[in-house]
Symmetry: C2
Subunit: 134 residues, 2 copies
């Protein structure tokens, strides 16, 4: 499911420094008092998907393993089923992690919603850009 | 210009606690290394527009006058012309503040872009809601 979307959160976020003027949709999905998923948690999911490892994803995002695990636990609690599960072995040996089916659905929907936002605001964003100092 | 938009950031943000599942677009507009406008700065603009006072807007948002003024200075620097100007007298006496023409345009565009996002993601948001725990 994931592979069908070329738009990537990581690409979007990491291309930040090169853009003088930019707009980032930072959708925040709330569930009760918790943030079920937002830009940070979504990026974490995408990095777990790509690396197959929570510790590697955490390292790439300059956060501790504990912090990454806390974010994942919150997501696992907010959705009907866990979005990430840990596996024995993993790509690098020593235990890995992968997105469940629902986890892949959540990430795909989140990324698509971000892309839909960008597309919907295109015309107003052009107007707003003209109001920004060069 | 403002009055033509019934959708309000303040309403959107303050209705938060009543919703079990919610999505908030939190558009962030970057200009160089700075955030020209995002959810917090936009809410501040809206509250200055409504109250005619930076200190009243700051009070409503539980932030110091200095913090509010710093945010406004950043916005004034990022856009081609200042978005907020201070005035002598003001509604309550003792000096007031108002949005300039460009300030009103910026706020209107920002609010409209948020509304456009919400509208664009409606269908995927329905799908994502079903994946959230009840």
């Amino acid at each position: 499911m994931w592979a069908s979307h070329s738009w990537s959160l990581i690409h979007c976020l990491s291309s930040k420094p090169n853009l003088k003027k930019q707009v980032l949709p930072r959708l925040r999905i709330g569930s009760g008092d918790e943030v079920a998923i937002g830009p940070g948690k979504a990026e974490l999911l995408e990095r777990v998907l790509r690396s197959g490892s929570i510790s590697e994803a955490a390292r790439q995002m300059n956060m501790s393993y504990m912090r990454a695990w806390t974010l994942i636990r919150t997501m696992n609690r907010c959705f009907r089923k866990p979005v990430v599960v840990t596996t024995r072995g993993g790509r690098m040996g020593g235990g890995g992690a992968e997105l469940t089916e629902i986890g892949q659905k959540v990430l795909t929907l989140y990324v698509r919603m971000n892309a839909e936002c960008l597309s919907a605001i295109r015309s107003d964003w052009r107007q707003l850009q003209r109001l920004l100092r060069a």
